[in-house]
Each structure stands twice: as C-alpha cells, then as structure tokens.
C-alpha cells in the first residue's frame, strides 16, 4: 500500500516528507525497543513505535526503513522531524495504540 493509504487506515497524520507519501510499503515491524529492530528487522519498510527520540530515525535509517508510525498520540519533536526530513523518512502519527495500529495495517495487507 502507499504510505498515504497506510496513514488513512489508522486515521494518521503525515508530519514530514509528505511528498514521499506515494511510496509503496509492503511490511512492518512493531517495537518500542530499537535494539530489537536492529536485531530482528529484515526488509520491513515500516517501523511502528511508541518511542520518541532521534534514535527511532537513526534506527530506521540503518535498516533502510522508509516510514515510521508513531503511535499512542505521541508527538515527535523538532529534532526528530528534521533528522527524518534530512534522510527522506516519512513520519506518520496516530492516536491509536500499537496493537490497533498493527492490527489495522495487517488486516489491510501489510505483511509481518
């Protein structure tokens, strides 16, 4: 699905790199532990997390993740957004929790 569609499924808001919302993503990984993202992600293009610090962007960057979904209504600060902007990573925020976000996107066709 396109990142714009992903955002719509979870009533999300695209907060940076909206011009890249046409990119197709196929799979996602949900975790608040970046250590686990580094250890277990293979080729998932989307990171679903409730953590907000610049390391969510660095972790995404190292793993070639194109889109970060920030759940539970948390707001990434300016430092996080500018780092994501500089690296072409789209950030989507949603008020939904990690379980519902993952469930909706899985039902809509994103793979594990």
């Amino acid at each position: 699905m396109k990142i714009s569609e992903l955002s719509a499924y979870i009533d999300g808001t695209i907060v940076c790199n909206a011009d890249k919302a046409d990119k197709e993503v196929y799979s996602a990984f949900s975790s608040d532990m970046m250590s686990d993202v580094l250890a277990f992600v293979l080729d998932q293009g989307v990171l679903i997390t409730g953590l907000i610090n610049p390391q969510i962007v660095r972790t995404a960057l190292m793993m070639d993740i194109e889109c970060i979904v920030v759940v539970r209504g948390k707001t990434p600060d300016a430092a996080i957004i500018s780092l994501a902007e500089a690296n072409g990573i789209v950030i989507v925020t949603t008020k939904k929790n990690m379980f519902e976000t993952s469930g909706r996107l899985y039902s809509a066709g994103l793979k594990a």
């Binding site: 250590s35 580094l38 250890a39 660095r58 960057l61 190292m62 070639d64 430092a79």
Partner: protein, 142 residues
C-alpha cells in the same frame, strides 16, 4: 586500486544520547556514494551503530576509526569506559547490564554485541575492567 582507501575518524560523544549514531550515518552515506551494495551497507550500518550506542550508554563515549577500501571496511571502536567484566556473558543474546533508563530510550536489550558479531565478517573484542574496551570489525563487500 587495492591500496586506495578512505580514513575517517569520529569522536563519539558520551554525554549526548541524541547524537549517537551520527558516525554510522556518515559512514553509511560514504558507502552509498561509493556504490557499495545496499545489503553490505546495511551490515556495516547495524554493526557500527550498535557499537556507537554501546559506547554512549556504557562507556561515556569513545572514538571510531574507519578505513574503507574498495572491497572491505575496517572499523575500530575504542573507549576508556569501565570495561566488560564477563565477555562471554556479554556476548550472549539477551544479556544486558544497561540501566532501566537506557531501556526506556529503546536500547539495552542485550542484542548489541551479538548483533555486531553476527553482521561483521571479522569480529574481535578486547576489554579490561577499569581500562576500556576495543572492538575491531571487518566487513567485506560483495
């Protein structure tokens, strides 16, 4: 060609968690410009980023020396931190001495060193309590 290389040195600041990973970010960008395969770049990025994070959360920072050749990268990470008392334990997946505050930041799951070993083709770690830790990694391209 074989003896041409790029040497880079990075200071990994120990007091700034937010900047941890910027050296790995720079190396990743250099390798991308060189046209190294993305799967190899990923291995380098993960191994070095884990190392940087380790130096910040455990050792108060350190230095990263990076030598990039056309067919491989050598990464040396050196810190003057507290050292690792039991290296064998530290290499076990899931074993961590990271404090809770580090886990709240999303790290300290005990996967760092095992992950570095997994992705590096050559991995060597030397550590002495009270003196510091040195990690040497080589990753071959292609």
């Amino acid at each position: 060609m074989a003896n041409q290389f790029i040497h880079q040195e990075y200071l990994v600041a120990g007091n700034n968690f937010n900047s941890a990973g910027s050296a790995s970010e720079a190396v990743k960008s250099t390798l991308k410009k060189m046209g190294v395969a993305s799967s190899d770049i990923r291995r380098v990025a993960i191994a070095m980023y884990e190392g940087e994070i380790n130096m910040v959360i455990h050792a108060g920072g350190g230095i990263a020396l990076v030598d990039i050749y056309y067919d491989k990268i050598n990464i040396l990470l050196n810190d003057k931190g507290k050292g690792i008392a039991d290296l064998e334990k530290a290499m076990q997946p899931g074993y961590s001495t990271a404090p809770e505050e580090v886990q709240r930041l999303g790290f300290g799951a005990g996967m760092g060193l095992p992950n570095m070993k997994k992705y590096a083709d050559v991995f060597d770690i030397q550590s002495e309590v009270g003196v510091g830790t040195t990690v040497k990694m080589t990753i071959y391209f292609g």
